[in-house]
């Protein structure tokens, strides 16, 4: 017989928070929500409260001296989660300013006890705790404020656990380096931060402590929008089923195992004649493909063809665009696919994006449409959309994104702007090339005073593929791949030369090496 206590985990109602907490909030736990003013503590507390409180499981929200209750009610009701009907029915706001102003912690505690005894709440919030502390400090004469405070917090913690209430103290005063006694007493410590870098501010949350739970270490970005707080838990935190699209559309074969895509024979047609042959029969399902090339070389057109081919085969897709004027820059084919509902769009022009946020948005669309193809157009504009604080970790984040998409079982195409460097054979400015399973590179070459385009398949992991540099044209109906330029060499140097007939070469030896 299992005699261990079973701790119920409460679902907080804050998207992503349960994952970060390691499976929800332990019932009857005593938690702190700390952070600087304006970082979203009260909003987080309200959102949790409105999600959890019911007439059978009522909540008491004690307001102390911090934010005047009238203002708090005024502003909190702007959020979608604020349910007026729940106020007084399931949620009771109680003002303790009189007790706190007297500076007597015992009186504050007595009042809390009275109210808790009267109403028997399952959830108790004390906002803001800073004022309790300040009131205490102001009142101190003979006692050491610390001792008094610690005893207050300890008593409160004991009391609430015995009264079977899950409790939250909300406060902005805590200094992380301070060995505050409150930290020791608390079961959970949720720290909210605003990270400022250059002009951008990014909100981050850290679970510094949550007794008995495997919380996710690290700083997790979150956003506050009209629906409230949304935490972007790293993708690895999501339960495996979460990341998988529901079921594949009947027209497509089942996705290969994301961990060993190469073992599957299933290939995804690219929608560009001859390109599949060049790739050894199409792009292996579940692979990520990087299409790199200079501006205007036809990357987006290739991406559109990839989505259109999917749609033709009955697959759905998702495209993430990060342009400032998406309607202007989006090509006609993609616009039609979006209009028909075969392709979903992740078009976040919100400032200071984080990659985890994009991953969440992508997975949301993938799940909604049961999509099998994903396009990110382009990585260059994506990088610009990401908040500066994440740019340093762009590669690590990209790696998470690629893994997340592989985990979702989708086949992904990313485009990347590539500066034309004729002395340097690089495929991506981020060093992201090694992250992807396949690479196609597009280049301009000069032949007979014309700019012509060539394309090559550089890499298809664990698969044979063409090593040819093929010329291609862009027509109204898309990309047409032509033949090799057999009579030219030094193509990657950008200025190919016609081959000499009898083995004599006229090419510049340095360029020819490329």
């Amino acid at each position: 017989m299992n005699t261990k206590v079973t701790i119920n985990r409460l679902s907080t109602g804050v998207p992503g928070l349960d994952e970060v907490l390691g499976g929800g909030l332990p019932e009857f736990s005593f938690n702190l929500i700390a952070g600087q003013p304006g970082c979203g503590k009260t909003t987080l507390a309200h959102q949790i409260m409105f999600a959890l409180a019911t007439p059978e499981r009522p909540a008491l929200y004690f307001t102390v001296l911090g934010e005047p209750p009238l203002k708090m009610l005024r502003y909190q009701q702007q959020f979608d989660f604020f349910d007026t009907e729940a106020v007084t029915r399931a949620i009771r706001f109680i003002n303790l300013s009189e007790e706190a102003m007297a500076g007597d912690l015992d009186r504050v505690l007595r009042r809390i006890v009275e109210e808790v005894t009267t109403h028997g709440p399952s959830l108790v919030f004390v906002d803001s705790f800073r004022s309790v502390v300040l009131a205490n400090a102001a009142q101190q004469t003979a006692h050491d404020p610390r001792t008094n405070l610690q005893s207050f917090v300890q008593q409160l913690g004991m009391l609430m656990t015995s009264w079977q209430a899950t409790t939250f103290l909300i406060g902005e005063y805590f200094d992380e380096t301070d060995a505050n006694p409150v930290f020791t007493v608390a079961d959970g410590l949720i720290w909210l931060r605003q990270s400022v870098m250059r002009n951008s501010v990014v909100r981050k949350m850290e679970i510094m402590k949550m007794r008995g739970q495997p919380t996710l270490p690290g700083l997790h970005t979150f956003r506050i929008d009209p629906s409230g707080v949304r935490v972007f838990a790293p993708i690895t935190a999501l339960p495996p089923g979460e990341a998988q699209p529901g079921s594949m559309p009947p027209a497509t074969p089942p996705a290969s195992s994301p961990t060993s895509p190469a073992t599957s024979n299933s290939r995804v047609p690219m929608g560009v004649p001859h390109l599949d042959e060049m790739m050894g029969g199409g792009l292996p399902r579940g692979y990520s493909l990087l299409v790199a090339g200079p501006s205007g070389s036809g990357k987006s057109i290739l991406a559109a063809a990839f989505l259109a081919e999917g749609a033709r085969l009955g697959e759905t897709g998702v495209i993430a665009v990060f342009e400032q004027h998406p309607n202007r820059s989006r090509n006609r084919l993609v616009t039609e696919l979006i209009a028909s509902g075969q392709v979903g769009v992740v078009d976040s022009r919100a400032p200071d994006l984080s990659i985890d946020e994009i991953v969440m948005l992508l997975l949301g669309e993938i799940r909604r449409l049961k999509a099998t193809r994903v396009v990110i157009d382009s990585l260059s504009s994506f990088e610009l959309s990401v908040a500066p604080t994440f740019r340093e970790d762009f590669r690590e984040s990209m790696s998470r994104l690629v893994k997340a998409m592989a985990g979702a079982g989708v086949t992904m195409l990313m485009t990347s702007e590539l500066e034309d460097r004729y002395t340097d054979l690089r495929f991506s400015p981020y060093g992201t090339a090694f992250l992807t399973d396949a690479i196609i590179v597009q280049r301009y070459i000069e032949v007979d005073s014309r700019l012509r385009r060539v394309m090559a398949v550089v890499k298809v992991r664990a698969s044979a593929h063409s090593d040819e540099l093929r010329e291609f044209h862009i027509e109204d109906d898309g990309i047409h791949i032509g033949s090799k330029l057999v009579d030219h060499e030094g193509l990657l140097g950008g200025r190919p030369t016609r081959k000499a007939v009898a083995g004599l070469t006229r090419s510049d030896p340095e360029r020819g090496l490329l």
Binding site: P69, T84, R92, I94
Partner: protein, 144 residues
């Protein structure tokens, strides 16, 4: 002003129904005090004594513009609202003037609270006041 209470009746109408038709100003003053005490019981736990006092003072100030007799001592930051101060002022007026002043005062207060926390939450918070007043009035009505 058409401030609605949960029953869909304006606050003014509602308060008027709380007062017997032939009431004199002293009876009106009593009804006003009882109603304010009800508001106090409902709102003070939530917004604190000072929070309510501030809203009350503001309502008095606004109402006094149309009912100049309704002027009480200006206290910049009162620690608590003293509703009994209204009783002598109301008693000095004719019944009609007292009723008009009192209903305007409640409407003003209701509107002020609505402008801060929104009509829906105001309605939710004030519901016990009006519901209690309704049943009270039914019970107390049979006065000669």
């Amino acid at each position: 002003m058409s401030t609605e209470n949960p029953l869909g009746v304006s606050v003014a109408t509602h308060f008027a129904s709380r007062v017997p038709p032939s009431a004199d100003s002293a009876q009106i003053a009593d009804a006003v005090f009882v109603t304010w005490s009800g508001i106090d019981a409902v709102l003070v736990p939530i917004i604190g004594k000072r929070g309510l006092a501030a809203l009350y003072k503001r309502s008095i100030h606004v109402t006094a513009q149309s009912h100049p007799w309704l002027s009480v001592a200006d206290d910049v930051a009162p620690a608590a609202a003293d509703f009994s101060e209204l009783t002598p002022l109301l008693c000095q007026q004719s019944a009609a003037a007292a009723l008009a002043g009192a209903t305007t005062l409640f409407s003003t207060f209701h509107d002020l609270l609505s402008s801060v926390v929104g009509p829906s939450l105001t309605e939710r918070l004030m519901r016990p006041v009006w519901v209690a007043t309704s049943s009270d009035s039914a019970a107390k009505d049979p006065k000669p």
